[in-house]
C-alpha cells in the first residue's frame, strides 16, 4: 500500500502492446515483457496481476488510442470512397499495428474478455461505415452492407500484412462501387 510505482504504467502498457502485436500472446514471454518494458517482475505482477492482465490492458489501450479515434474519423468522412480508403489504409494501425486482428485470430475464441474487446473494435468500424452510408443517403443500400464492407476492410488489411504492407484500398473501393451501382 502506498509505495510509489517505480515505472510509468502508461509507457509499460504501450510497450507491451507493441510487443504483443509483433509476437502474439503465446509468443511473448514474461522475460520478453520484463526486458522490453524495463520493469521489475514483481511490479509487473503487482500492477497487472498476470500476463493476461497486461495483455487486456494493452488491447484496451490499442482500442482507445488507435482504433476508436480512427473509426470516429471514418464515421464523419466525406463520402463512402473516402471512408473506405481511410479504413483500408489505417484501421487497426500503428503503433501496435495488427494487435486487434491478431487478438481476434489468436485469443478471442479462448478468452471472453479478449473477445469482448475485439468485438468492440470491429463493431466500431461497422457502425462508422453504416453512418457514412446513411449520410450518403444510400437508403437503398442492402441491410448488412456496412458489416460486409467492414469484413472486406479486415480481409484487405490482413492481405496487405501478408504482402508486406502494400495497401489494398482499391479492392474495397471496387466492391463498394459494384454494390452501390
Amino acid at each position: 500500500m502506498g509505495r510509489p510505482r517505480a515505472f510509468d504504467e502508461d509507457d509499460a502498457v504501450r510497450a507491451a502492446a507493441g510487443l504483443f502485436a509483433a509476437r502474439g500472446y503465446e509468443g511473448t514471454s514474461v522475460d520478453d515483457l520484463v526486458g522490453t518494458l524495463g520493469v521489475h517482475r514483481g511490479s509487473l505482477y503487482k500492477v497487472f496481476g498476470s500476463k493476461r492482465g497486461l495483455y487486456l490492458a494493452a488491447l484496451r489501450r490499442h482500442l482507445d488510442e488507435d482504433v476508436l479515434p480512427l473509426t470516429a474519423a471514418i464515421a464523419v468522412a466525406d463520402g463512402l470512397p473516402a471512408a473506405l480508403a481511410q479504413a483500408a489504409a489505417a484501421y487497426d494501425s500503428a503503433p501496435a499495428a495488427g494487435l486487434l486482428l491478431l487478438a481476434a485470430a489468436e485469443r478471442a475464441a479462448a478468452d471472453p474478455d479478449t473477445a469482448a474487446l475485439v468485438d468492440e473494435g470491429l463493431t466500431a468500424l461497422e457502425r462508422a461505415l453504416a453512418a457514412v452510408l446513411a449520410a450518403d443517403g444510400a437508403a437503398a443500400a442492402p441491410p448488412g452492407l456496412a458489416q460486409a464492407l467492414a469484413a472486406t476492410v479486415l480481409g484487405v488489411r490482413l492481405r496487405s500484412r501478408a504482402a508486406g504492407g502494400r495497401p489494398g484500398a482499391e479492392a474495397v473501393l471496387a466492391l463498394a462501387a459494384h454494390l452501390l451501382r
Binding site: 514483481g42 498476470s50 471472453p112
Partner: protein
C-alpha cells in the same frame, strides 16, 4: 510440485510429496476473490528470490518455502523451471505463489476459468 484444484469458490494448492517438508507447508487455500491471475513463467527462477524465512533453497535444485522480497511475502515450490507458474494474490499473507505444476498451460487455464466463474457468480 504442487497440484491445483478449485472447490466452493476457493483455489486449493496442495504441495505434493517431500516438497511438504522442504516448503514447510502442505496446503494453501485462497478465496478466488483474492486471486488476481496466473501466468506460466519459467524465467522467474533466474530472479532474486529475496530473503528465505522458512523452507529450503538449493540454487538450481529446489526453491521451496516462504521468502520476503521487496516488501512482499512470496511462497515458492519449484524444482524444474519449465513447470513454474505465478499466481498473484490480493489481501493475502502471500503477495504471490511461485509453484511448479505438471501442466502449466492447463493450470493457468484452470485458474482463469475459476476466476471467470467466481466473477460471474458474484
Amino acid at each position: 510440485m504442487a497440484r491445483l484444484s478449485v472447490a466452493d469458490g476457493t483455489l486449493i494448492v496442495e504441495v505434493e510429496g517431500l516438497d511438504k517438508l522442504w516448503a514447510l507447508r502442505s496446503r494453501l487455500e485462497i478465496p478466488l476473490a483474492n486471486v488476481r491471475g496466473a501466468t506460466a513463467d519459467p524465467g522467474i527462477v533466474h530472479e532474486s528470490k529475496g530473503l528465505r524465512l522458512g523452507g529450503t533453497s538449493l540454487p538450481g535444485v529446489i526453491t521451496a518455502g516462504t521468502f520476503r522480497s521487496a516488501g512482499e511475502w512470496v511462497f515458492w515450490d519449484v524444482h524444474n523451471p519449465a513447470g513454474a507458474i505465478v499466481i498473484q494474490l490480493a489481501d493475502e499473507r502471500y503477495s504471490r505463489l511461485v509453484i511448479e505444476v505438471a501442466d502449466p498451460r492447463a493450470a493457468v487455464a484452470l485458474v482463469e476459468e475459476a476466476m471467470r466463474a467466481a466473477g460471474a457468480a458474484s
